[in-house]
């Protein structure tokens, strides 16, 4: 082949191009241009708002953020130099996030799979869907009040803190975590359900046509494609859990320090009361009784970091082992 053109000088090979010339926005219709500009502005505006929050908190927070605050427990002192750090609320926030997500995610995924893949009898599926919509619309303070009433029922005493007199207190990490999961559940449910609905029918039929049962189809074909959706839902849910203050105040006690119910290592802790960064921020802000805005800012900054790290972690987890799924099972059509 090369011998046929012996004299041709070696042409310089151009580097590979990703895309060629494209049409210019200038040629668009006026309205399209306007909407295009608005879309850009809206996106930029959101970036600015997000950036402003991070920068403001970073400036205010970092200024007061002493690494010692992260590893010392808060203590009841009026003098801010002796009121300690926020180790306990930090642990509290982590625990709530973990507990709430661990309860909500499997429940939400199972429910979504049932509704989309089985959904019979139909009225029951409709009732489930409506119930979840209702939970999604319920403010967390209402969920908290309900939870308090619920966990004060005598039989549920093992779940929560028992006051010294022996009365059921209805407050504990477990109680708060279970109610927190209600905040996350609708978000994870919706994301999973939409993910399932987006998987084309022929994907399922291909599996059925190979003689697979519905269960095997769900487990081996649908679930792997759902990972990104479940992750998105879980991230949204995490945000709600970490951000809720009402449930903490009512159901976790928002005590200064985490106080285990008894000395059983993990269970005692989970049955005990405590606080999270949100309640800590609230009580230390000028609105609360502590009036230590410096610590509130420092805690707020840490909370923001936690949310960012958790989001990143969920995104990572959802990608483990999903290498061959090409990020989603959806093809055109």
């Amino acid at each position: 082949m090369a011998a046929t053109e012996p004299r041709s000088a070696p042409t310089p090979v151009a580097p590979p191009r990703r895309r060629g010339r494209r049409s210019s926005v200038r040629g668009w219709r006026r309205t399209d241009q306007l909407i295009f500009a608005l879309a850009w502005l809206a996106g930029l505006g959101l970036c600015l708002v997000a950036g402003a929050i991070v920068i403001f908190l970073a400036i205010e927070g970092l200024q007061y953020l002493d690494p010692k605050l992260l590893v010392t427990s808060p203590s009841p002192a009026v003098n801010q130099a002796h009121s300690g750090g926020f180790l306990d609320p930090l642990i509290g926030t982590m625990t709530m996030a973990l507990l709430g997500t661990l309860i909500a995610t499997p429940l939400a995924v199972l429910t979504a799979v049932w509704v989309v893949e089985y959904g019979r009898p139909r009225w029951l599926a409709a009732v489930v869907e409506t119930s979840i919509e209702m939970i999604a619309g319920t403010p967390d303070i209402v969920i908290a009040i309900f939870g308090l009433a619920f966990f004060q029922i005598g039989i549920l005493a093992p779940f929560s803190f028992r006051a010294s007199g022996g009365g059921v207190y209805g407050r504990s990490f477990l109680a708060a975590g279970i109610m927190m999961s209600l905040l996350a559940l609708p978000l994870t449910y919706t994301a999973t359900r939409n993910g399932l609905r987006a998987i084309p029918r022929h994907m399922r039929e291909a599996s059925f046509a190979l003689g697979k049962t519905r269960a095997a189809t769900i487990r081996r074909v649908l679930m792997p494609s759902l990972r990104p959706d479940i992750a998105t839902g879980a991230t949204l849910g995490l945000g709600r859990i970490v951000g809720s203050t009402a449930i903490i105040v009512l159901l976790l006690g928002a005590t200064l320090q985490n106080s285990p119910q008894n000395s059983v290592p993990l269970l005692g802790f989970l049955r005990g009361t405590g606080s999270t960064l949100t309640s800590y921020i609230f009580f230390n802000s000028p609105a609360g009784e502590g009036n230590a805005p410096q610590k509130a800012y420092a805690a707020a900054f840490v909370l923001l970091l936690i949310v960012l790290v958790l989001n990143w972690a969920v995104a990572r987890i959802s990608r483990i082992g999903a290498g061959s799924s090409l990020n989603s099972g959806r093809m055109a059509r």
Binding site: G211, K212, T213, P224, M331
Partner: protein, 304 residues
Amino acid sequence: MSAEKTHLQSPCTLAPQAKVRENGTMSINQLVFDPPALDPMTSAPLRAVSSLTGPERMRLHDISVFYDGAAAVKQASLSIHQGEVLALIGPSGCGKTTLLRTLNRLTELTPNASHSGTITLDGDDIHELEDTKLRTRVSMVFQQPNPFPMSIFDNVAFALREQSRRRPRRRELEPLVKQALQRAGLYEEVRNNLDRPALRLSGGQQQRLCIARAIANNPEILLMDEPCSALDPRSTAVIEDLILQLRSDLAIVIVTHNLQQARRVADRVAFMYLGDLVELGDAGQLFEAPREERTREYIAGAFG
């Protein structure tokens, strides 16, 4: 060959059921069980391979399929023999896909579909068989290549796994996967990339992967719904070769809009029109000397 004998003996057990329709045309029952293949060489042979067929595997008897009560397939009767390729042709919307999907009971997944009539596989009513068992015996390849979002290996292994409660090890599956990929003519292209995502294959490769997946379990019948409609001529030629090779071990029912393709691969051809199975016959006979006016018009139109 014994296969030939069986074929010659099989013809017209159902011939008495032939009826004359109101409009004077013969019903399909007569045509199907006419002995058309007795002398397949009267017309010039279309293909080098002669149409020897084996024992009857599947038989449809007066199958009608309804969507919301409206018939999409009307009283179709035909038999499917091992070792043959049966092509279903006809204009769009005439019920080819519906008929095909009834053979492995995929129509049951469509909530508004119902059917009447009987289909037997080796003499057993397919509606008496467990659906999962039936579908491992009657496998299907779809119009759109639809590999699962997993690796090439896992796509083929998927068909083999889950048969038993114990999950088979990769080492046990490897030879089976390899064999299926070889039969589907894909192995040489992917042998070093078995763990790559199947969705990164080209369309033609994806479709061959789907064929490998469908034949991994050694089904008795392979249903193909326009398997080449999304492919280029080269991939189409590869798959047509494949069909001709595969046909020796199983029966293939293929839906195609491409009459040349039907000519190239099919031993027998069934022409459907508005839900009626108008004519069924040896490929050479149906294309060269169709008995029915509608068949003639369709073939003329499509060829002209």
